[in-house]
Amino acid sequence: MIYAGRADALRGPLMSASPTDAVPPGSVPPPRESTQPQPGLWDLFVGFLSVAVVAFGGVLPIARRAVVERYRWVSAEEFTELVGLAQFLPGPNIVNLSVVIGGRFRGPAGALAAVLGLTLVPMAIVIGLGVLFARYADIAGVADTLAGLAAAAAGLVIATAARMAEPLWKRPRPEPIAIAAAAFLAIAVAGWPLLPVMLTLAPVSLALFWWRLT
């Protein structure tokens, strides 16, 4: 039970001060203020649901507003830290973020409640949209609408990559530019499978950054 320590520590200074309830050293979470809210499973579900249904093309800023400013589940510093973790881990970033926040408060059940809150309603909406577009796909106007939508959505992804790449050309250094270019060429131009590309590039990138940052 990784998160048991956190739950005990939140109950109050008396309990966590007693030796039998001592949290194992090393797994001590960052200190929190006593006014910190303690969301239940339903709160976590509804909280992430409220993030998901208003999140168009970029969940992170909306999630930040909700969990830091509205619900005050985590501090701004913790949020930045957790985003770093979510981006570092494989898998959908925002889903990872909800797992960590949900798990922090309510263990596995909290993680599940947060993930379901984030995904259930969007799944229903996206399938509903898919059904609609598929049913009327034969109508020329619908096909043309979809073509325009798809072209604009591709631009959205290109803009995301360009935004992320800004630090690369504002403070240009050869190593990160070479890694980014190699990943792009291997996938977009050569069309190679992702697994061998990552198994090659990740160690190279790690070695370069290890040498640079240490």
Partner: protein, 175 residues
């Protein structure tokens, strides 16, 4: 491969999940490679449109996986694909989330975080190109993709407006 789409969907997205270091949008070319080129579940254009519908709907980026699963094998396909994409990394996130803070100052943590960024940038840029190729029907759609990228890069306009504008231009047959 077409005999058991559910099993193939699960196997595919379990793999993709663990490769999705830059999030769902970084693995779109890999999804495209398997879903369009190898399994033949949808066409190039359908793939780009599926992504577009998922973007136009609210929710996390991973919804594109739900929609691919639905396209291939209905509701069961949608649920299986989404679960396969989320479950392994959710377990990983849960486990690592408990100890992550302990390594706040660790050198390897900073190195790994920094090293993954340029790779992610390259992969997401590749996703953009793969989607643009699938969406391209001629000079009009290509121009729309570039205009959309420029607007979203240089302004703080909500992506939803750009998607709506693209859909409207398409509906009016202006592209």
């Amino acid at each position: 491969m077409k005999t058991d789409p559910i099993g193939a969907l699960a196997a595919h997205f379990l793999t993709v999940s663990l490769l999705a270091v830059g999030g769902a949008n970084a693995v779109l070319p890999e999804m495209h490679r398997q879903v369009v080129e190898q399994a033949g579940w949808m066409t190039d254009a359908q793939f780009s449109q599926t992504f577009a519908i998922a973007q136009a709907a609210p929710g996390p980026n991973v919804m594109v996986v739900t929609l691919i699963g639905w396209h291939v094998a209905g509701l069961v396909g949608a649920l299986v694909a989404t679960a396969a994409m989320c479950a392994p990394t959710c377990v990983l996130a849960y486990l690592v989330g408990g100890v992550w803070h302990r390594f706040r100052a660790a050198r390897w943590r900073r190195v790994m975080q920094a090293a993954l960024v340029p790779m992610t940038i390259g992969l997401i840029a590749a996703s953009g190109v793969v989607l643009a190729q699938g969406a391209a029907r001629g000079p009009g759609t290509l121009a729309l993709t570039m205009a959309s990228a420029a607007v979203l890069f240089f302004t703080r306009l909500s992506p939803l407006w750009v998607l709506a504008a693209g859909a409207a231009l398409g509906a009016l047959r202006l592209i």
